[in-house]
Symmetry: C2
């Protein structure tokens, strides 16, 4: 028979089992963190009506989207989790209780040009809080607090959540007589990390035709560097002259003030007046998250406060705050930077039960006891030599082997071999369960990221 | 602005938060069960090259598949998890350790005619063990044992895993001189539950042109009813005349003999000689799972032993055993049959912290303590009256409220209100954590299915 080459499309991540095990732990950590912070899981279809997905329209999105027909239905794969959320909240408005807090972890698709570290199918892991008409400022502090908790639970410690408020920027631009150019200036400022302050200033004086003094004033304002207290003092010095600015500052003071109560330590957040987020969508607090010492990676988690989630679907005013982790890219980066913890057990089992006689029933019953105790257990019943059986455990990194031969059957015990140390001892199965569980609990405490 | 109606496509399940919470628990139960039985998680792309997905070809699949182009690439959405597994194992053969045990829980897409209880996008939850050239019979017993464990963990108790062996049927047909018609007869037999034995016999004597005696013999053999021991005795009475039959019987004896050691109690499995599975793919043990008393639902979980997983991609002989749960359909059925347990907490949080003064910092810090203790916690900071705040907890079914007003702030305590009983008491936060955890542990023990 002619064979079809078994290939996977480029830009579509498909991991080998060891790496997949780490990815699963990352997904589990996110699910647990989002849950413990009181977000409800949501699952929406991967396929939606193209008309619904593209309600907002817009150039880049429309070009990248996977769109197709089935019968006479015009369909598309979702390209983010925000549009489906907007659709869901608008469609189920009367059945939801607000503020509606949801998390969604799922794949999205974008037909971008494939290149190293860019994916056409990738996981996003989003949280959003949606209000009905209004939404308290506390929510804008909670969002980064959840992200702090998530990254900490993964084992990441050298990261900074950068916070700004769009109103501060908008107010500043009003004060400087730059309101009409504010959007363009913010889009330029958003590139600061990528292209440097010189190039941003060039855009300001060139393309955007600011005079030199005004360009300097913009660069000096957004370039302010200091501790949270220093930055807030600097901003307070600019206050009292513009209502939008003052509201933004009040919000920033509130958010920065609440973060420690929400568990975020001072070294993990910073006010950064360069953060604008390109999207016009955001109206208040905005966030980006960087891995310290790796500016080349850019933001691994971004979001902010918006006033109108679902304006394309409903007249209801639905303000919200949310953030999104590009999980596939993050995993790719962590792997590339060798930040994944190699000590984490990635084996498909904690114990391999090896029958050494024709009696398979006792090993099967032993595996059942181990599984009932929550220990991940395989039985190796293939007809191989003992050396090959042990080699199977070794290759997969299974930490314990339970051997059951003539002697063990006679004495009603099992022999437990620690594959790491080589130690082995015979004991009743109940004792083996306890010993193995105790050893595994230590391993379970390992974080998936090791810096 | 013109609004686009926020609709979800028909045949695509999208649940409200309470139902989604139950679905998540079902997914979690499956992940936990599959893991504890030593299966590695696998994740393959939803989108594959159409050439790869359709390597096997075949009518129905090709008609139902979602197929589309992007640039000049011919793409398709996966329609099951078996073809991607075959591709994965063939592509990564030299990097995998065999037997390779994987589970995959993911969405698949089939553009079927939409009708009640039929989905175009649905979850499959698969386990497979793949051998390299050979695979021990134990694996054919383990697969249904995992399924027993999964359904039991969900709280389902009235179900039966029906087991048969294709070799017994093939051998019987050889003995009856019906080898050439075996495939057709098996496909007819496979419809027994749906159309009844009279209609199956009509197909045998009509379309398949068996004479009346032979048709009776077929119907008597496959229609044998008895306990496991009785059925095995009946089959042993037919043994010794055909090698294929005898091998199938040996395998069935081994599988039935191992199931109790693997934790499957006698009342949850039955040998059923009518089970053939339509696919030519299966070669040994085959399984179907039915909810007792609901023959109209059909099999909720099916699979079996196959000899050649990836013949369209590789010359390597890759025998395996596997089973698949159609999870979206199962969830739909459980919901429709009112078998979902209403006592399970489906709220997005276990505790709602309610600030009753302008002090938000202490409630935020209290929520942080609760979250650090693993208690799912929301803070309600919206500017509403206390009655409305309590009503929020009530609507969402959040079991506990923690109130923090002037008195609590002064005394350094919190007031915990049990929303079910109405009881409330003030106590230090550390004590509140313990009390709430103890109460929640009881609720966590609830199964998602209640019969």
């Amino acid at each position: 028979m002619d064979k079809v080459p078994p290939r996977t499309l480029s830009g579509f991540m498909e991991l080998l089992p060891e790496k997949q095990a780490l990815m699963e732990k990352m997904l589990e950590t996110l699910r647990d963190t989002y849950s413990v912070c009181g977000f409800a899981p949501l699952d929406t279809p991967a396929v939606e009506s193209a008309e619904v997905l593209l309600a907002k329209g817009g150039g880049e999105t429309e070009k990248q989207i996977y769109r197709f027909s089935k019968g006479d239905t015009d369909l598309a794969l979702r390209f983010d989790l925000t549009v489906p959320l907007a659709k869901y909240v608008a469609a189920n408005y009367s059945r939801l209780t607000f503020p509606f807090r949801r998390y969604q972890i799922g794949k999205v698709w974008r037909g971008e040009r494939a290149q190293r570290g860019r994916f056409r199918e990738f996981y996003q892991a989003d949280i959003d809080v949606i209000g009905d008409g209004k939404l308290d400022i506390l929510n804008e502090a909670e969002i980064p607090a959840v992200i702090f908790r998530a990254f900490t639970a993964m084992g990441l410690s050298r990261f900074t959540i950068r916070i700004n408020n769009r109103r501060i920027l908008n107010g500043f631009f009003q004060l400087s007589g730059l309101t009409e150019k504010a959007g363009d200036i913010m889009r330029a400022v958003d590139k600061l990390d990528k292209i440097g302050s010189g190039s941003v200033r060039d855009i300001l004086t060139g393309e955007l035709m600011l005079d030199s003094d005004l360009a300097d004033r913009v660069m000096q304002f957004i370039g302010f560097r200091g501790t949270t207290a220093e930055t807030l003092d600097f901003l307070k010095g600019c206050a009292g002259r513009n209502q939008v600015f003052d509201q933004g500052l009040d919000e920033l003071v509130a958010v920065a003030g609440l973060l420690p109560s929400l568990g975020v330590s001072e070294e993990h957040f910073a006010i950064d007046l360069t953060i604008a987020r390109g999207l016009d969508y955001y109206t208040g607090t905005v966030y980006e998250t960087v891995i310290d010492g790796h500016p080349e990676i850019g933001s691994i988690c971004s979001g902010g406060r918006y006033d109108d989630l679902a304006e394309y679907y409903t007249d209801k005013k639905l303000p919200g705050a949310g953030i999104s982790i590009g999980l596939t890219r993050l995993f790719y980066i962590l792997d590339e930077q060798k930040l994944l913890n190699e000590s984490v057990v990635t084996a498909p089992a904690d114990v391999l039960v090896i029958p050494m006689t024709d009696n398979i029933a006792v090993p099967a019953a032993t595996a059942t006891i181990l599984r009932n105790a929550g220990i991940r257990t395989q039985i190796y019943a293939e007809n191989k030599k003992i050396k090959q059986k042990l080699s199977y455990a070794d290759k997969l990194g299974i930490p314990f082997v339970v051997l059951i031969g003539e002697d063990e059957l006679k004495a009603g015990v099992v022999t437990v071999k620690n594959m790491e140390t080589g130690e082995q001892a015979s004991k009743p199965v109940a004792l083996a369960v306890n010993d193995i569980k105790a050893a595994l609990n230590k391993k379970d405490a390992l974080h998936i990221i090791k810096e």
